[in-house]
């Protein structure tokens, strides 16, 4: 998908004044985070499991080549095929060829962020193959020609009424002429429309939450069952997964599953967790005849061994964005590419370049909630700070910011001057504003005072002065 990450500030301004989006976000802020907290409290071992989840992913990353080869060996031994795709273009080509080999006209797709990353739908459409998104949220946004705004709840930016309008517009030609008002009716209509598409699809394409090296299995976690229909009904099942999805064993999967659903939706378990291993076996009455796994690198292997490696632990639960005050204010589309929120702010500069996505790691208050809820303990604020440093080193930061930082660093290295200037500023501010306790306007601070007052400094002088006073 075409990135608009460069326009982050404009995107964010537009998001803040979009009433439908703000309604949806208001629900998000209380829903997911409260349910996660309750689920974590119900499991006394939750923090220990998070530690182990982090360790498992670190171990897998340190031995990634070994586990990928082991995974391939097991898949091949059971009659499946593994394809290696260094770039997004390679993955698109491989999947396109596989679909063509089946003479496919339609592909039933289960939600896959990696498929979004490689812009697979556009490629399939160019080949005359219709991709059909089957996850309800993905289906809704496919009808609306929108990208997902959240990695596990792609249509979270929309209200029920917007969904009702979209269904009426697109399902009218199928004979559904009544505008629906209840959620369960909307779900039932989508189920009915998509059921036939499942039965007709030639190829099923899914992502994977994990690839299990021990058994050569792809593991999928969903609530709807759409991924399972996608990997059961069509004659070919294609799994698209990036290299860091591989984990060693089923025991490791058990640990990761225990933190995944709780972190994502606050459920004890998602409704469906499925292991697929190779094509259908002799005597099976259903299941695909062909099983292919496409393993995508797309820049990830270059992150190994660097200070940014921790980002590869991500299991895509979405907890970081559910708890992010910035995401909560502007939603996912403002980030301008596939992965929004804090994890998007560290992944996107890696995947499409810091020149394009330098705004994103700056869209953080560094409050640290994302790190505090991450099931694999990714130090997201530190990683964002790394990107800010790289952006600064490469002279990509705006000139006013660079000059401000230069002035700051000049002063910060001269403590006596710093104290004298801050003391002076404190007295000036106090002189002009203490009567009201706040300022409506301030020179050089229009960006702040346009929307809110600036508080007057409390009596007692600067922090330094008060600190000295207390210690003596």
């Amino acid at each position: 998908m075409q990135s608009t990450a460069r326009d982050f500030k404009d995107n964010a301004h537009a998001a803040l004044v979009d009433p439908n989006l703000q309604d949806s976000l208001a629900k998000l802020k209380v829903g997911f985070s409260e349910r996660r907290r309750q689920a974590a409290e119900r499991l006394p071992e939750f923090e220990a499991l998070r530690d182990r989840a982090r360790d498992i992913k670190n171990h897998a990353l340190a031995n990634l080549d070994f586990y990928l080869e082991e995974f391939e060996r097991k898949v091949t031994a059971l009659g499946g095929h593994v394809h290696w795709a260094p770039s997004a273009e390679d993955a698109r080509r491989i999947i396109g060829e596989l679909c063509r080999s089946m003479g496919a006209r339609t592909v039933a797709k289960s939600k896959s962020m990696v498929a979004e990353e490689i812009a697979l739908n556009e490629h399939l459409e160019a080949l005359g193959i219709a991709p059909i998104e089957t996850d309800l949220g993905e289906y809704i946004i496919q009808l609306r020609h929108e990208p997902p705004s959240h990695i596990i709840a792609p249509a979270v930016h929309l209200t029920k009424d917007q969904v009702a309008d979209t269904f009426l517009e697109h399902h009218r030609k199928l004979g559904f002429t009544r505008r629906l008002t209840e959620r369960n009716d909307l779900v039932a209509e989508a189920r009915y429309v998509l059921r036939q598409k499942f039965l007709d699809a030639d190829v099923g394409l899914t992502g994977a939450n994990f690839l299990v090296a021990e058994t050569g299995s792809s593991m999928l976690v969903t609530n709807e069952g759409n991924a399972d229909l996608s990997n059961t009904l069509p004659r070919m099942h294609i799994v698209l997964a990036s290299i860091e999805k591989v984990i060693p064993t089923l025991e490791d999967a058990a640990v990761l599953l225990r933190v995944l659903a709780r972190s994502a939706t606050g459920q004890e378990s998602s409704a469906y967790t499925t292991l697929n291993t190779g094509p259908r076996r002799p005597g099976d009455l259903d299941g695909p005849e062909h099983y292919h796994v496409v393993i995508l690198d797309n820049g990830r292997s270059a992150v190994l061994g660097t200070e940014m490696q921790d980002m590869l632990r991500c299991i895509r639960c979405g907890a970081c964005m559910n708890h992010c005050p910035v995401y909560g204010a502007i939603g996912g589309h403002a980030y301008g590419w596939v992965y929004p929120g804090p994890i998007g702010a560290v992944l996107t500069p890696q995947l499409i370049g810091v020149e394009e996505a330098g705004n994103l790691p700056n869209a953080s208050t560094f409050c640290g909630r994302c790190e505090s809820v991450c099931p694999v303990r990714i130090p997201l604020p530190s990683l964002m700070r790394h990107w800010r440093e790289r952006e600064f080193e490469r002279h990509l930061t705006p000139r006013a910011v660079r000059q401000g930082l230069a002035l700051w660093s000049f002063l910060a290295r001269r403590p006596r001057l710093y104290r004298r200037l801050t003391g002076l500023a404190n007295r000036m501010l106090a002189l002009f504003g203490r009567a009201q306790g706040r300022y409506r306007t301030l020179p050089l601070a229009g960006g702040w005072t346009r929307f809110r007052d600036f508080p007057a400094p409390p009596p007692g002088g600067t922090f330094h002065a008060q600190w000295r006073g207390r210690r003596s």
Binding site: G225, T273, A302
Partner: protein, 224 residues
């Protein structure tokens, strides 16, 4: 193809500043695969068998399944009664498994059963379960000639006949059972672990049942 493969694997090794694993490092990961270490023990998953059954029932119901405990002789009658209670037709597609064939279906004169895989037009399916997990109220289905995957997914109502002794504490015991039954290197094509009916939270985050899979799941826990 092999060029792309080595491009990725060599790239990984270059970043990790080493060649392919060898010597002790290789032995260590091979040993870890052969004897997978378990994660932190979850107290909830380590209960005596009667408590596991109770915990399974509790979590299955919390996840919107309905559960009833029956004797083997009551299985067929309970299926008929469940269908009648819910105004469902007395018709079902049933998994062709010896376990299920062992129940007294002939006692239910009105119940019409078809053995085979699921089709888009089926309303009700009846299957066994390979195991069930007390920790989360999850049933585990292993695919094969005796258990087509479509039965778990296509019908509106899924009736699961679960033997009490197949309820285990946590995931790890399921993995052990799978390895014991199918061999460490030969998982069934599909293992579905299913916790309640299909659901979605994709419209305004409100949970709605019956997204693409069954709208209802009814579990018969069979005493032995």
């Amino acid at each position: 193809m092999s060029e792309a493969r080595s491009q990725i694997l060599d790239g990984i090794r270059r970043s990790l500043k080493r060649g392919p694993l060898s010597g002790d490092a290789l032995k260590a990961v091979e040993a870890r695969l052969a004897e997978p270490p378990r994660g932190p023990a979850v107290a909830r998953a380590a209960l005596a068998q009667p408590d596991k059954v109770a915990l399974f029932c509790q979590w299955a119901e919390a996840n919107n399944a309905t559960v009833v405990r029956v004797a083997p002789a009551e299985v067929a009658a309970e299926v008929s009664a469940y269908l009648a209670r819910n105004n469902l037709p007395a018709e079902a597609v049933i998994a062709p498994s010896p376990q299920l064939a062992g129940y007294d279906w002939s006692s239910q004169k009105m119940l019409s059963l078809r053995r085979g895989r699921g089709e888009g037009s089926d309303h009700v399916s009846i299957t066994g379960a390979f195991a069930a997990i007390a920790e989360t109220g999850t049933v585990v289905m292993a695919s094969g000639p005796e258990h087509p995957v479509t039965l778990n997914l296509l019908p509106d109502t899924h009736i699961v006949v679960l033997r009490e002794s197949d309820i285990v504490g946590g995931y790890e015991e399921v993995w052990q059972r799978l390895r014991a039954r199918y061999g460490k290197d030969r998982m069934p094509r599909t293992v579905n672990t299913i916790t309640g009916p299909s659901r979605t939270g994709d419209i305004e985050q409100a949970m709605e049942l019956g997204a693409h899979g069954p709208r209802r799941m009814h579990v018969l826990v069979v005493r032995e």
